[in-house]
Symmetry: C2
Subunit: 215 residues, 2 copies
């Protein structure tokens, strides 16, 4: 893909795979991460480390001031426990941070315009759809329309995993040489070690096992 | 209007009028302002003072980290001069901050969801359309679609001035008892006194004169 691409990059499995994929096909990739006061801020260390290893300059944007407004989610409020169980369980709804993807995409989209990038990449995937409305195709399409009507420059939203399962992503990541255990962080708890019980730990383990079986 | 409304509030003429208008018709108004590193940060003091006078709690959100990414505008880059002349001149394009409205609306929209507000108010008006794509009706409609598809809760975007001129706004403001000279700030330079020559100073003076003539 010709030109430069801004990539929303959390340091988790999905966006790490996206970053490697973009490096495979793009002229230049500009990764950007967000500190919105997430409990699992630890993912940002992994993001920084991956960028350093790949020789990419990494922008980390402090939006904790905005994060303070988005209370009521287990990811931003210490008093709300992170639910255990499966990623698609209804209980996972307590991990929804209102409008989080639009906020990150809006800032990253503004950066794309300011830097002359024609493409904004995001790693949303089908496994997210059940719980997170801001990962669904309708949202991505509506967001792209707003990004284009709100700016002189037309920036395209590139969401190649929109209809992929987590396992599909992990398989691509393994093919691209990613060491997920060493290089990515998923656990919503953000402790010293992954908790193994939150939705994203369970999803991670299942996807790794399935991808290994399919190899 | 029943229910609570989040209002994006800069402290300028348009959003001050919007705030007064909302107080006239709403059950509860939650004003929010943004520090994105704008040269005319002085407007934020006026915003805080107006909220204090009206007995409203005022949220000021620090997004200077995001503002740093949005360079290349006269409003965020010290080395780019603020253009003189008329508000609709082509030279005013250098005051466009990429995706600024979407970033502010995305955060304010997330806050609306988190606080159970059903309405998000913004003071964009027809005088902005020539220069700022993120003040045009297409953008407001596309943004509202994205806000609604990206969240479980349906928040409506209320932009009552979308087709009004600045003079229309000032007339309503005068009727609502606003002392624009004392209570609002417009100048893009943000110095001790308004410069009188930048687009927004010129627009302000013209609108005040026209509204006085029409009274």
């Amino acid at each position: 893909m010709a030109g430069k691409t801004v990539c929303v990059f959390s340091g988790g499995m999905d966006s790490t795979t996206l970053l490697y994929h973009l490096l495979d096909i793009s002229d230049e990739v500009l990764p950007v991460s967000f500190d919105y006061g997430q409990r699992h801020r630890k993912e940002l260390e992994f993001a920084a480390r991956t960028c350093a290893r790949l020789g990419l300059s990494h922008r980390l944007v402090d939006i904790r001031g905005a994060g303070e407004l988005l209370q009521g989610s287990a990811l931003t409020s210490e008093e709300i426990p992170v639910p255990h169980g499966h990623y698609e369980d209804k209980s996972m709804r307590s991990t929804v941070v209102p409008n989080r993807n639009m906020i990150m995409l809006a800032i990253a989209g503004g950066w794309a315009v300011a830097t002359g990038c024609r493409r904004l990449a995001v790693a949303v995937h089908a496994g997210d759809h059940a719980v997170y409305p801001d990962c669904r195709p309708e949202f991505i399409l509506d967001f792209e329309a707003a990004l284009q009507s709100g700016n002189y420059e037309k920036v395209e939203v590139y969401a190649p995993f929109l209809k992929w399962s987590k396992t599909d992503i992990v398989r691509l990541g393994l093919r691209l040489g990613i060491d997920f255990e060493r290089d990515t962080w998923s656990c919503y708890e953000g402790g010293a070690e992954p908790c193994g019980r939150c939705g994203t730990c369970v999803e991670r383990a299942e996807a790794l096992a399935a991808a290994q079986r399919l190899k």
